[in-house]
Symmetry: C2
DNA sequence: TAAGGTATGTTTACATTGCTCACATCAATG
DNA sequence: CATTGATGTGAGCAATGTAAACATACCTTA
């Protein structure tokens, strides 16, 4: 698809080929360089600059594609989550994506979103929205915003900790169980004494 | 201290100077290169290789130092957390560290810990232990392990999301409140229907 | 104290990378 | 058919990580 080598001077669809090559190397775990993907596409070292202003621009395009893929994974088949358990499953998918495509995941989230890249901003906003409304639907609580952030952060943190080997090594299906367990545990946790609301001064000392 | 320039052929304590220079650039937000820190230390480009096998080794040393600093921040003055609110404060410190020294934070957690670096392994283990026992003390629940992971992941995720601008921009003190609110929200969240334990099949449907 | 080994620095060199600039080629449009 | 804009090429630059081979200073030990 992407490599319609017309074997003429001009390359069928270089932009797509470059992205494809980059994505491939990213998922192969190799570090990727502009020159390497140019080589892979059978084109000179500076050709990519006709399609991307610089490395960052290329990375933003990859990130956007990754965000779209993640959104697809998160919504695939599934309906909007209705129970906490559904939220757990959403998190499982999120973490699964991160573990399956770690380098891409880092590109997607590992830096401030370049506001200049429309497609990335768009894809990013869609993910935000999905997560937000998912949490909102399950927990129509007062502190909706805080809860949404917490839910996302929990999944995001689990993804990073597993990716970076900060948690005990385990096969993928165990990771899924671990994520479910984490969500369950924190949502049902109860400490001995009451938990005073930190945002509001206690009425009575 | 670190730059005892004896202005002789041999440099007072090059290893320390290099680490100091690197740390400085890291916290200044500049990208750091071996050559740059060598320059900064007033020494030839390849001198660092007498003290560090390669870039990764240098980074591991920095990471170890960072982990020690973080541990100091987390325990500074404070006693072991006793209430959920105390846990929230611990998280505030954790996220605060990440925002104050983001590049270092990434070095500390952004890759698998090099088992070859004793000091890094040691520092890493100490952090793990602190977090683990903190959660355990507050929540002596059955699912201790899952809870500990969840608590860490929540703080870790908040740190990354704030660092990478995935959450609305806000001044540092608001971030602290946001972290407290997130912990509070998720620990007190209650959905409408019961939350069936996903790890154990329901006794009665 | 002289001798020599070891730790630490220096120079040179190389491959790789991101990027710029001037030039080549091609396709479509006047 | 000629021009022009989009696309690809080549040579070249500065920076980087790293490897050799060489130089110097310190420390032990005979």
């Amino acid at each position: 698809m992407s490599t319609l080598a017309k074997d003429s001077y001009h390359h069928g669809d270089l932009r797509a080929s470059l992205l494809a090559a980059a994505m491939q190397m990213l998922e192969a775990g190799e570090p990727f360089s502009l020159r390497a993907i140019a080589r892979q596409a059978g084109v000179s070292a500076t050709a990519p600059y006709r399609h991307f202003a610089d490395r960052d621009a290329l990375e933003s395009a990859l990130a956007a594609q990754g965000l779209r893929d993640l959104l697809a994974d998160l919504t695939n088949g599934r309906e909007l989550p209705k129970s906490p358990a559904d939220l757990g499953e959403l998190a499982v998918v999120y973490v699964g994506f991160a573990l399956r495509r770690p380098a891409l995941f880092r590109l997607m989230f590992g830096n401030a979103c370049d506001e200049g890249s429309e497609e990335r901003v768009e894809a990013s906003a869609q993910i935000h929205e999905l997560l937000q409304t998912s949490m909102l639907r399950v927990f129509p609580a007062a502190e909706a915003e805080a809860l949404a952030a917490a839910g996302w952060a929990l999944a995001h943190g689990l993804a990073y900790l597993h990716m970076d080997g900060k948690l005990p090594e385990m096969p993928d299906d165990e990771v899924a169980d671990h994520v479910r367990a984490a969500f369950h545990a924190i949502l049902t946790a109860r400490a001995s004494p009451d938990y005073p609301d930190p945002t509001v001064p206690r009425r009575k000392s």
